[in-house]
C-alpha cells in the first residue's frame, strides 16, 4: 500500500451563488521516497490540491468528498487536533514565496524551535541544537548567527533554505513543495531545487512538487499529474507523459514549450484560456479549446460536448479524454510514418 493515497478528492468553495467545485475526482498515490509532479495552468487547482491534503484550505473552501489516506489513516475527516500532529511533523510544506512565508517579527530560531516543540517534548536547548543541525544541512553560511537573526536580515534564497530546513526539521515522510523556486532569482533556482532533491533523497522523503515548469518536472519527478479546471486529466510515469502525451491538453502544453517551436517562428500556444470554475463548459471542460473536438465531417462530437470524460487506462497512464483510443492510434500512425 502506498504511503499516501488520495481517492476521488472533491473540494468546494461555498460561495454566495452556490458551491464552486475547485477539485473533483482527484486521485493519486505517493510512495515513500517517490517524487510526484503536479503541473497545470494557474487556477487549475494545483495549490488547492496541495493545501487540501492537510486540510489547510482557507474558508469558504471545504473538502466535500473523497478520501486522503496517509500511512493507513484517513485525514480528510480528521479533527484539527489530530491533523496538527501530522502537519509539519509527518507531512510538511514549502511555500512559493520565501519573502512572505516567515513571520517578520519572530527570529529564525524561534520559528524553528516552536515547530519542534509543537511535536516533541524537548527543551529549548535541544531544539536549538536540532535547528542548528538542519541549518547546517541546508548549507547556510554561519548558521549559529542565523538562529538569532530575523527574516528581513536574510536574502530570498537564504530564506528558502531556512524554510527547507524547517520542512525537514521533524524528519517528515512527505514534503509538499508548492512552486518552491518560482519566486527566486533565476540564478539560484537550480541551486535550491538541487538542495531540496538531494535532502529528500538522503532522508528518503516523498516529494509532491507543484510547478508550472515542465522542464523541472521532466527532470526530477518519477510520476506526474496534469491538472485542468480542477480535474486531473492525465497521470502516469513522467517520462511516458513527456515523450508521448495522450490528452490533447498535455500535448498542447508540451507543444507550447519554447524549444518545441521552430526558431524564428511564433511559439505554439493552446487557443483560448482556462474556463472559470464557476462557469465550466458542458461535457469535457477542455472541449472549447480542443483541436480534436470535431469529427471527420467537421461537426463537434456529441460525447465531448455532453459527457464529462472518465479515466481511461492507456498504457501506464490514465487519461480523461473521450478520444484517447483514436489519438493513440493516430500517434502510432504518425510515429510509424516518421520511422518510414
Amino acid at each position: 500500500m502506498a504511503l499516501l493515497e488520495v481517492n476521488n478528492l472533491d473540494v468546494r468553495f461555498a460561495l454566495r451563488g452556490g458551491d464552486v467545485r475547485a477539485l473533483r475526482d482527484v486521485c493519486f498515490t505517493l510512495d515513500r521516497g517517490e517524487r510526484l509532479g503536479i503541473v497545470g495552468e494557474s487556477g487549475a487547482g494545483k495549490s488547492v490540491a496541495a493545501f487540501s491534503l492537510l486540510n489547510l484550505i482557507a474558508k469558504p473552501g471545504y473538502i466535500a468528498g473523497g478520501s486522503i489516506i496517509f500511512d493507513g489513516k484517513e485525514l480528510s475527516g480528521m479533527k484539527d487536533r489530530g491533523l496538527r500532529r501530522v502537519r509539519g511533523n509527518r507531512i510538511s510544506m514549502i511555500f512559493q514565496d520565501p519573502m512572505m512565508t516567515l513571520n517578520p517579527v519572530l527570529s529564525i530560531g524561534e520559528q524553528m524551535v516552536e515547530s519542534l516543540k509543537a511535536h516533541r517534548r524537548i527543551s529549548t536547548r535541544e531544539a536549538r541544537a536540532i535547528a542548528l543541525h538542519k541549518l547546517n544541512q541546508v548549507q547556510i553560511p554561519s548558521p549559529e548567527t542565523r538562529l538569532d537573526q530575523y527574516p528581513h536580515e536574510l536574502s530570498g534564497g537564504m530564506r528558502q533554505r531556512v524554510i527547507i530546513a524547517i520542512a525537514l526539521l521533524l524528519d517528515p515522510d512527505i514534503i509538499i513543495a508548492d512552486e518552491p523556486t518560482t519566486a527566486l532569482d533565476v540564478t539560484i533556482q537550480a541551486e535550491i531545487m538541487d538542495l531540496l532533491l538531494e535532502l529528500c533523497d538522503k532522508h528518503n522523503v516523498g516529494l509532491v512538487l507543484i510547478t508550472h515548469d515542465l522542464g523541472v518536472v521532466s527532470q526530477v519527478t518519477q510520476r506526474m499529474l496534469v491538472m485542468y479546471a480542477g480535474r486531473v486529466i492525465e497521470q502516469g510515469p513522467t517520462r511516458e507523459i513527456i515523450n508521448g502525451p495522450q490528452h490533447p491538453y498535455t500535448q498542447g502544453l508540451i507543444n507550447a514549450l519554447p524549444q518545441m517551436a521552430t526558431p524564428g517562428s511564433r511559439l505554439n500556444q493552446i487557443p483560448g484560456s482556462m474556463p472559470s470554475l464557476s462557469n465550466l463548459p458542458s461535457g469535457c471542460a477542455f472541449h472549447p479549446r480542443c483541436g480534436f473536438v470535431n469529427d471527420a465531417n467537421g461537426a463537434p462530437r456529441k460525447a465531448c460536448l455532453d459527457k464529462v470524460p472518465g479515466f481511461v487506462d492507456s498504457g501506464n497512464c490514465r487519461v480523461a479524454c473521450h478520444m484517447v483510443a483514436e489519438l493513440v492510434n493516430q500517434q502510432q500512425r504518425d510515429s510509424r510514418e516518421e520511422v518510414l
Binding site: R87, G88, T101, L102, P104, V105
Partner: protein
C-alpha cells in the same frame, strides 16, 4: 539607541519651538488681559500705564523672546485669574487629567485587544457582529452626549414602566429596564494626597468609582476605533502566508493567534495609539466639563472664557510636551517590538 534619543530630542525641540510660537501668537488675538485684570472703573490712563508695565506694547518678537527665555526655565508668568504662577496652577490640575487619561487608556487597552482579536478570529459570530454594531454607535455619538446619557442612566437613574406595574412579571421587567443610578458623576470626590502635590483617585475603591463614568465616556470614541483597527489588522494578518505556514507547521491555534498574528497586528496599532493618547488629553476638555472633573481641560475652558492668556499658553505648551513625550515613548516601544526597525538614529 543613544543616537536615536539625541535625534528624537532634537525633533522634540523643534516641535516645541513651533508650538511655542503658535501659542504665543494667540495672545495677540485673544481678548484684552487688562480688561480682565482690572475693573470697569479704572481709567484709560492707568490701563495704558499697566499695559506698558506688563510689556504688552512691545513688538511681537521682543515679547516672544522674553517669553521663550522664561519658558526655558518653566516660568510662564502669572495666571490672571488665579494670581499665582501658571505652572503651579497646571501642576495642581495635571494629576486629575493624567489619572483620567490613564484610566481611559487602561480601559481601552484591556477591552480593545481581546474584543478586536475575538471579532477577527470569529468574524461571523453574533457576538462579533454585536461588537461591530455597538462600536459604530460609539464612534458616531459625540463624547458629551455619551456623558450625559451615562449620567442620566447611572448617576440619576431611570425608572420606566412600559409593562403593567401591578403584575409580578411586569414589575420584574420594569425593574430590568430601569436603572438605579447612584454612581458619582461630579468631581473627583476625596482624592488621597500622595507624594506632596499629587492627589490620586487610584488608592481606594471609593476613589475609583469617581473615575468610572468619566473614563467610560472619554473612552467611548477611542475604544470602538481601536476595536475596529485591531480587528481589521488582525483579519489581514490572518490571511498572510506566514500564518498559513505556521498552520502547516502544526503550531497550535492559540500560539498562532497570540504570538504569530497578534504581534504583527499590534505594530500599526502602537503607532496609532501613540498619537491617540495625546488626542485623549485634548478630548478631556469635553469630558471634564460635563463631569466637572477638576483637571486641565476644565481649567483650560475657564482660562479661555476669562482670557487668562498666560494660563492658555502654558496649557498649550504642556499638552504639546505630553504629545512629544508619548510619541517618543511609542517610537521606542515600536523599535523594541518590531525587529525590522533599528533604533540607530540614521535611516537603515
Amino acid at each position: 539607541m543613544i543616537a536615536f534619543l539625541i535625534k528624537r530630542l532634537f525633533h522634540a525641540f523643534l516641535v516645541m519651538f513651533v508650538i511655542s510660537v503658535i501659542s504665543f501668537a494667540i495672545q495677540d488675538n485673544l481678548g484684552d488681559p487688562i480688561q480682565q485684570m482690572v475693573g470697569q472703573s479704572v481709567p484709560e490712563s492707568e490701563r495704558a500705564e499697566l499695559r506698558e508695565e506688563l510689556g504688552l506694547n512691545d513688538p511681537f518678537f521682543v515679547q516672544y523672546l522674553r517669553f521663550a527665555k522664561n519658558a526655558a526655565q518653566f516660568d510662564f508668568g502669572y495666571s490672571y485669574i488665579f494670581n499665582e504662577p501658571t505652572t503651579e496652577v497646571i501642576m495642581r490640575h495635571l494629576p486629575a487629567t493624567l489619572e483620567l487619561v490613564a484610566a481611559t487608556t487602561l480601559l481601552i487597552v484591556l477591552l480593545s485587544v481581546p474584543i478586536g482579536v475575538y471579532s477577527a478570529i470569529k468574524p461571523r459570530a453574533w457576538l462579533s457582529r454585536a461588537f461591530m454594531g455597538v462600536s459604530i454607535v460609539g464612534i458616531s455619538i459625540p463624547v458629551f452626549l455619551t456623558a450625559i446619557v451615562l449620567i442620566q442612566l447611572f448617576a440619576i437613574g431611570v425608572e420606566v414602566t412600559p409593562f403593567p406595574v401591578d403584575t409580578a412579571w411586569g414589575a420584574w421587567l420594569n425593574d430590568l429596564l430601569s436603572t438605579d443610578g447612584g454612581m458619582p458623576a461630579y468631581g473627583r470626590g476625596n482624592p488621597v494626597n500622595v507624594f506632596g502635590t499629587w492627589d490620586t483617585n487610584f488608592s481606594s475603591l471609593e476613589g475609583l468609582t469617581y473615575l468610572v463614568l468619566p473614563a467610560i465616556s472619554l473612552a467611548s470614541i477611542m475604544l470602538p476605533l481601536f476595536i475596529r483597527l485591531i480587528r481589521a489588522e488582525m483579519l489581514e494578518v490572518l490571511q498572510s502566508e506566514y500564518v498559513k505556514f505556521a498552520r502547516a507547521k502544526g503550531i497550535s491555534l492559540r500560539r498562532i493567534y497570540f504570538v504569530h498574528a497578534l504581534k504583527n497586528t499590534m505594530l500599526p496599532v502602537i503607532t496609532v495609539g501613540g498619537v491617540q493618547i495625546g488626542t485623549l488629553v485634548a478630548y478631556t476638555i469635553l469630558t471634564e466639563t460635563v463631569f466637572q472633573w477638576p483637571g486641565m481641560g476644565l481649567m483650560f475652558l475657564d482660562a479661555i472664557e476669562r482670557s487668562d492668556i498666560p494660563l492658555i499658553v502654558t496649557y498649550l505648551m504642556i499638552v504639546g510636551l505630553i504629545f512629544v513625550i508619548t510619541n517618543t515613548l511609542v517610537d521606542l516601544i515600536y523599535g523594541l517590538v518590531n525587529p525590522t526597525v533599528k533604533l540607530t538614529g540614521k535611516p537603515a
